[in-house]
Symmetry: C2
Subunit: 357 residues, 2 copies
Amino acid sequence: MTNPLSTGATIGILGGGQLGRMLSVAASRLGFKTCIYEPGGDSPASHVANYHFQKGYDDLDALKQFAQSVGVITYEFENIPTSALDALEAIKPIHPNRTALATSQDRLTEKDFLASLGLKTAPYADVTDAASLEAAIATIGTPAILKTRRMGYDGKGQSRLKSPDDAVKALADMNGAPAILEGFVDFSHEVSVIAARSLDGAVSCYDPGENVHSDGILSTTTVPANLTSAQRTDAVLLAAQILNALDYVGVLGVELFVTPQGLIVNEIAPRVHNSGHWTQNGCTICQFEQHIRAIAGWPLGDGSRHSDVVMENLIGDDVLRIPDIAKTTDAIHLYGKADAKPGRKMGHVNRITGHAS
Amino acid sequence: MTNPLSTGATIGILGGGQLGRMLSVAASRLGFKTCIYEPGGDSPASHVANYHFQKGYDDLDALKQFAQSVGVITYEFENIPTSALDALEAIKPIHPNRTALATSQDRLTEKDFLASLGLKTAPYADVTDAASLEAAIATIGTPAILKTRRMGYDGKGQSRLKSPDDAVKALADMNGAPAILEGFVDFSHEVSVIAARSLDGAVSCYDPGENVHSDGILSTTTVPANLTSAQRTDAVLLAAQILNALDYVGVLGVELFVTPQGLIVNEIAPRVHNSGHWTQNGCTICQFEQHIRAIAGWPLGDGSRHSDVVMENLIGDDVLRIPDIAKTTDAIHLYGKADAKPGRKMGHVNRITGHAS
């Protein structure tokens, strides 16, 4: 794709969750139609999209039809089968690109990539069996955390080692999946940068947000984050370095630990990110529109922040508070999910706490 | 409807244009599904709605099915056939109510209603034939403007009389439709108030915007409007008076002429209004969400303005400027219409011009 996608064209989105839903809405503002590829029915994104391919990722015919019906393809989750990506990419461009996806799909590849850029990460080691875990513990020490290399999110696929005695259980928790051992980082708080890069290489970062997790799931993001001016600059520079190294097109989320020794990269997500939801009410152009602009070959929008915001996730039964929240000044964003299961992200609210200074 | 509509319910919208499109998007933020009733295919609203009844307003079976499939019904245009409204209202509540619709559908009824509240309007007189037009001219004088009582919008169905000599042509322009003659008002500028009233009678008004028209179509709305503090208060009070008198539920647009003698009501529109599009980027809760909240029986949202905004309509070929506009900080809102016909509203942009003081 060398020319910008014209308004009226259709954007293909792999995945029908809340990120796809909010991407669809943002795309509609720019006059685009959207087509969701999602095996499940009644998905959050399908409610607001023009078209829905309710097909599996192993249905090559459906994937081909989907690719032929759209102008460009993006995704809202990382764990897309390689065979599906191969079939799609043969027909239409996929943004962000396969390198970005492959890098972030695998914790070891990701850490190696970040280290190759000279960026700081938690100490880590490849773990394939009991012997390599023992060696990793000898190098990294405990406490540490064993994580599957692939498919982990929101704290799943992880096992903590308080001492070397926990090694056997932790390895069993991996269910035979390749893993990495990560040392703990002594950080004061976590921030994230939502960064965007356009097809012509322009980069724009939103102000970093400060994240608080609960039970391994993001609970709140607050902007502005508690950072020095130098830390803010570092955060933007390292995000841009990552985007450029990946020849990235779209929005990327970069999670950072703030430590006395500087910013340490926790992980990157090659997509719009939960910690960027505050941009919907804190900026004129939100992360979802920024992503659509980038993958459509449009210029990036203005990511300036006009307001201070606290974003709070509504997890499971939190959504039952909506009647009370509706009486406040909070901006409500619900995902149209029917069942408020424990741990399920049902929506979020953005509380404006003041004008940006 | 005595209980608030629960998130997950479906809201029925009559009309598939850009107002229905933006109402659908706002409804999705609150977790509602939407169902559009629109005879035309590929309509702006159907792109972002869950369901679309592509049926005529004379199809009583389709209207009944539509009403049975939704929790509440609203509309994005006024000229809905009475027989359709009767069929729908027998099954589900319609907000805003029939009184509001009947009042605003007919310029004479509207003027009589406003006069009954003691509000100022342009001088007007009922015109049914040549004799009544002659009498009207004798009372009101010229210049004046003859307007059909019903079905007029964006300057259509109107004929100007520079002198009494234009009477014959003006009457012919009405094509036999009942009309009213309106005297000209010597106003300095036009402003509008976007006002909302909830099911339990709470009222909330957005800051008035100042409107500039071109060829009878709204061109720009600027907030804040050029008004004294007393005029602002008057505008809010008269809007609330209108809402309460109509036992109104939803968002109402009130167009006002600013004159040395005070504010004169030009017309009211029982729906979200083009002159309220600035709220999408100037407020946390926009007019579309405010309308959805009201008709769903939810509390009204916070209509405070955080930014100064200039809204500019993109009419016809204006939309060809989008590639250049995309390079600016303007927020783009396109309607997904394929053909940029002259006079057709294709989208709008909101330019943030500063923090609200």
